[in-house]
Symmetry: C2
Subunit: 473 residues, 2 copies
């Protein structure tokens, strides 16, 4: 593609995206296609000769777009947010254009050094302990997802407890990991990937707010020690995916300290709220943690993928993940004066992801980011208030931030039907969870362009559809 | 950022990128900065209030750009290629703009179905066996890197041999994995991550061309069986990173079949060549493989990250990586009629990566892709010919495709000095490897815009610098 053609097609694409956002609320939020419907419209063989961008974009419009669920719609209240923004899209575009690799400092020094600086900015913005900053024994790195961050934490913890890379047998012994019954499934996946084994994973019980019970955790650790097992890792969550429950970090932290367990904190979505002084309390106890992760690609206007993973002692992490073949050796690495981030995660290759994060933080400024987070929480509290004062609906879990778990009083089947009816009609999209057998509706309020009008319209839609379904029964 | 502002800033960014490519050869290819030089120019704290895109781009130009090593320069011959192209950048921009999640079919059906279709296209283009296509028990998925693909292969192999997810203990027993001494370090990393242990990884010896020796592999397997261990996994490489050595797939495949080992093929860079009929022979023996991966983000004009991972029996993979919490349950998943790609890799979240790959394949067409690959190989053969007819340099390994390993006859110290001198001057960038103690220069010829003039200039630079250094000695 010539330079002139790239300029022309690139500007058309920018216009396409701008138009998409202008017009996004006109699409059904949840794609209405059936399995196979998109694939069957795509030819079975790749084209022999090249095609024009006009042909490709015509197929985007006619074939691809009906199969899109619009995560960036202001009427998207499902799962968790994956919000983005103009500056993020442009930062990511610049990263694609530069096309550099950041596996080593030497392969593009700016890619490593901007990342280090921006992660230190975030450590300050979240008031993380000094030990998570790059000028100590710790530091931050961008990972793709909270899943990979959790796996990295498990591996670093495994290393610290067993000296896995250097011990005679390289065997794991009888390590035991602890999560709550509400912890994100990615941590269970990480523990299993690391070869710990399903018999060595404990699902700790939760309290009435679905937060991990520290007393049950300690009892479980003591029993495992008596049985000759080796407790090594606890994941505590700041804002569970299912209901936004907050595990008691200080209590868990003291137990981890007492028994020498690696404490990982998964604050994937909710962590962002801690940049607001009035919500910083959700991280009280983070000073006990060995690692901490949150996702700007969820609730900080930065497009996927962008997880920020902080570690207090990077040596365990690097020791277990570093392998240096000859063709990657270089003076900077050997001097020890630089970070080589490929030693901080699973992958070797890495793109220049800090650009989009840097663009977002600079475009909004700390005040701008706080404003949008505060506004989302304000809208969520309004919505929670409407539920509280409704005769037909009830809140089912505390709503500390931007996620509201609620249910119609007519029971599980009715709630399921209500959810499916609304989502099928396409004006808004929300999802569900199960709490102690109850089918619960979830409203996650955190899209970049969601405003009061979208939330009040959603509440109106939910009420009207419930009335309509009640009358039919 | 308003829609109008996005249009304006987006078009400026497109122009910036077009200008970057027009002008790329004017930059020193290897960044010339020292450790800390970039970071020290960046403020220690994030801005309190938002800043303009003009301010941000001014810092990109003055602070970031000197810290960039120009992987997209036609004079970049280092490491391995990570080439990209206009259509790929635009496809990735569209993916950023749409900002959808593809973790489940239901979260954006087009994201899953386009990926399935395009991976089937690639299976055809590479003439992979039918078992790797989505209408059989197998199929393809886009992973971030060959490292993650290798880890997924190890985990699926572990599952098949131990029924890890369902066996009573969840223990791994005494599994043993086999790679060659030349296999990419990511496979060793994957084996260790999976808890197999360093004592259970065998580095099999290689022949004079640095390819794995099948006879040594079989002897090692037999010895491990006699010792009561459980051989389960072999990684064979089509084009090693160090020297582009080709492991003997049919011989290794027969051994894997005989002893029931999972055979993974890592064809990260070289796999692309197999889309050309005259180079398809490099995959002869792929019919024995259980999994196969290659990187369009290396040598197929698709920007990072884009690894294509094919598996013959997806059930082992899905069984070991699938965890389904309530809040992700949905009718499409429960019907079994769809793929949920988050069960095919480590991460949960995933972006719409097949767009860029689809754009590239359609823009170039199969013939266009073949043309560029053939051209790179033609240039590499020219370069190898110049080395062969030179009195001062010699080829040190076979050059089957686009990587040439060579050395000046003056010995290791001279070659190291030659490499460092040329790279410091910035006109071109190439790197090294070690072969049996010999310091060897590597020319990797595969950048999108590399033409005969760049390669002949590189050879001229190498010769002239060698003469200059010889005279000084």
């Amino acid at each position: 593609m010539s330079s002139d053609e790239f300029r022309k097609q690139g500007k058309l694409m920018i216009d396409w995206i701008a138009y998409y956002y202008d017009d996004i609320a006109k699409h059904p939020v949840l794609s209405q296609v059936s399995p196979g419907e998109i694939k069957n419209q795509l030819p079975e063989a790749a084209p022999t000769d090249g095609e024009s961008m006009a042909q490709i974009m015509s197929d985007v419009n006619s074939i691809i777009m009906p199969g899109i669920t619009h995560w960036q719609s202001p009427n998207f209240f499902a799962y968790f947010p994956a919000n983005t923004s103009g500056p993020s899209i442009l930062g990511d575009l610049l990263s694609s254009g530069l096309g550099v690799q950041g596996m080593l400092w030497a392969t593009s020094p700016a890619c490593t050094e901007l990342e280090t600086r921006v992660l230190d900015w975030l450590a300050n913005m979240l008031q993380l302990p000094e030990k998570f900053k790059s000028n100590t024994d710790g530091g931050g790195v961008i990972q793709d997802t909270a899943s990979s961050a959790a796996l990295s934490a498990v591996l670093a913890a495994r290393e610290r407890k067993t000296n896995y890379q250097t011990n005679e047998s390289g065997s794991l012994g009888n390590l035991v990991a602890y999560v709550s019954s509400q912890t994100h499934s990615s941590v269970e996946k990480a523990v299993k990937i690391a070869g710990i084994g399903k018999n060595n994973l404990r699902l700790i019980g939760v309290d009435e707010n679905l937060a991990m019970r520290a007393d049950i955790l300690e009892t479980a650790i003591q029993k495992d020690l008596q049985d000759g097992l080796v407790p090594f890792f606890v994941c505590s969550t700041v804002g569970t995916t299912s209901t936004n429950a907050m595990d008691p970090l200080p209590e868990i932290g003291k137990i981890c300290e007492k028994y020498d367990l690696w404490m990982h904190i998964d604050a994937a979505m909710s962590g962002t709220a801690a940049i607001c002084p009035e919500y910083r309390y959700i991280l009280d106890g983070v000073e006990f943690a060995d690692s901490f992760s949150f996702n700007p690609h969820k609730w900080m206007f930065t497009n996927f993928d962008c997880n920020c993973f902080f570690v207090a002692d990077r040596s365990s992490l690097i020791k277990t993940l570093s392998i240096l073949p000859e063709y990657l050796k270089n003076q900077a690495t050997e001097s020890g004066a630089v970070f080589d981030y490929r030693d901080w995660h699973i992958q070797l290759g890495r793109r220049f992801r800090s650009l989009k994060l840097w663009f977002v933080i600079r475009h909004y400024g700390i005040n701008g980011l706080r404003y949008h987070i505060q506004e989302h929480i304000r809208l969520a509290r309004l919505f929670a208030g409407w539920i509280r004062s409704s005769a037909d609906f009830e809140l089912v879990a505390p709503a500390p931030l931007n996620l509201i778990c609620f249910a119609h009083k007519n029971g599980n089947d009715f709630n399921r039907k209500l959810l499916e009816t609304i989502n099928r009609r396409g004006k808004m999209y929300f999802t569900h969870t199960l709490i102690n057998g109850q089918f619960v509706l979830r409203m996650s309020i955190a899209q970049t362009n969601t405003q009061i009008g979208h939330v009040s319209q959603a509440w109106k839609t939910i009420q009207e559809t419930a009335s309509e379904l009640s009358e039919k029964e």
